[in-house]
């Protein structure tokens, strides 16, 4: 057997985020132990994703149909839109099962120190959605870092004149953590955002 084909697979798997050469080698040897059907299934799933996946016409989540499953679901609360930076953020929020509204994926964030470039993001589409009516609240769930915060502030400045409630997800300490190890900024923010119990 030529080891070239194994090397090829290792090289390709190493391109994935978080996969170094060692992990790629482990995955490659695991794939070798899979049945032909399983390996074909994996390859077909990758190809199908590349050929059919696109963005939802309404919220820009990843989907293979015109509207994603969330936008198609009549049971969702259409008066709330949760704005996230990437489709992967949407998946994490969906996993909480505590949010039943709709989403809007910006496909990036603003970079204030490099100059703002809002035209790269799906901001106009969000404003059009809100302008069409029926939206009571926009929840800004961009990342709690400089870029995410700048994006949230920018969006708030555009959305507030449109007579919708604009809210920002809370800052604070991670559950299971210890205050002793929290940094000053996180603690300041969690003190500012404290609530009565």
């Amino acid at each position: 057997m030529s080891l070239g084909i194994v090397e090829n697979l290792i090289a390709e798997l190493s391109k994935l985020p978080g996969i170094g050469r060692k992990s790629a080698q482990r995955l490659a040897f695991f794939i070798m132990t899979m049945s032909k059907e399983e390996a074909r299934g994996l390859a077909a799933a990758i190809l199908e994703l590349k050929e059919r996946a696109g963005f939802c016409q309404q919220c820009f989540n990843i989907t293979d149909t015109e509207l994603c499953p969330v936008c198609r679901d009549p049971g969702r609360d259409a008066s709330r839109i949760c704005v996230v930076e990437e489709p992967s953020n949407l998946v994490v929020i969906e996993n909480t099962r505590s949010y039943r509204g709709l989403y809007h994926v910006l496909l990036g964030s603003l970079s204030p120190l490099d100059g703002l470039t809002p035209e790269r993001l799906k901001i106009r589409e969000l404003l059009e959605r809100v302008a069409r009516g029926g939206v009571e609240e926009v929840i800004l769930a961009t990342n709690p870092n400089t870029k995410g915060e700048a994006t949230a502030q920018y969006l708030a400045s555009l959305l507030k004149p449109m007579q919708v409630r604009v809210s920002r997800i809370a800052y604070g300490l991670p559950i299971g953590g210890d205050i002793e190890f929290a940094d000053e900024v996180t603690l300041t923010k969690s003190l500012e955002g404290r609530r009565e119990i």
Partner: protein, 258 residues
């Protein structure tokens, strides 16, 4: 080699799944690029220490010749989060960050320039109404400290002192030129008044504390801003973006600013 120093985070670029490549201006090592493992994870020990503009106590590990060191420690000394929390201020700081990254060199100590930036950020954070003036003075001081200060009080060719109501600043020369020294092809000139010339002198000589009560006229600020934009762009060979003005956040969706 382990380096322990203080630094300000200038920029951070996501790398891989949760890592960051961060550029710092440090007190003892000048510009430094660092690789931080997993700071984007929620329970990262770095917390908010690697957010732009944060002043941190740093631990850096790597070979002496390495251009990318591993960040082993980053403890916040001053977070300057109030500067980051205000979007217009943050945007207006972008050109200063560009200047620092362009005019300074890697691994060359710049303790005075580092102290100047920390003092400037501290003054900006504590004095919201004076932020535009402090930022402009910080840039003027920084340019002078780097040897790139714009010369406005005397002709850059013959040294004749400024006289009259207006002077003409030529970004290509980094200086004002008197009537007799102006030559064809000297490039586009920026007209500045007496008050603006005085402002540059004050900005250079006064401390940030002394500048707090100093509010120049809007016209002076506008002229100074244009001059710094043109001069900075020329000094950096077009690598710096203009826009020192602290912009107002758009009031309506039809007027987005960028």
């Amino acid at each position: 080699m382990l380096i322990r120093t203080e630094g300000i985070v200038l920029r951070s670029t996501p790398y891989g799944e949760a890592d960051l490549i961060v550029s710092f201006i440090t007190r003892d090592e000048g510009l430094v690029q660092g690789f931080a493992k997993s700071p984007r994870k929620v329970r990262s020990r770095f917390g908010a220490a690697l957010e732009p503009l944060t002043c941190v106590r740093l631990g850096l590990m790597g070979k002496e010749s390495s251009s990318l060191l591993r960040v082993t420690q980053a403890d916040i000394i001053e977070s300057f989060h109030r500067l980051r929390d205000d979007l217009p201020t943050l945007v207006s700081l972008g050109p200063l960050v560009d200047l620092v990254r362009t005019l300074l060199h890697e691994r060359e100590p710049h303790p005075r320039k580092y102290e100047l930036l920390v003092a400037g950020f501290r003054a900006m954070e504590q004095n919201i109404p004076s932020r535009p003036v402090i930022l402009m003075c910080l840039i003027i001081k920084f340019l002078w400290m780097c040897g790139y200060g714009p010369r406005v009080s005397a002709c850059g060719r013959c040294g004749a002192a400024f006289s009259g109501d207006f002077a003409y600043f030529f970004p290509e020369y980094g200086s004002v030129l008197c009537q007799s020294c102006r030559i064809t092809g000297a490039g586009r000139a920026l007209r500045i008044g007496q008050e603006t010339v005085r402002f540059f002198g004050e900005a250079r000589s006064r401390t940030f504390t002394e500048l707090l009560g100093y509010l120049p006229a809007e016209e002076v600020l506008r002229e100074a801003r244009k001059l710094i934009d043109g001069h900075g762009a020329h000094m950096c060979g077009g690598r710096c973006r203009p826009g020192l003005e602290i912009p107002a956040v758009a009031a309506s969706p039809s007027e987005p600013w960028n």
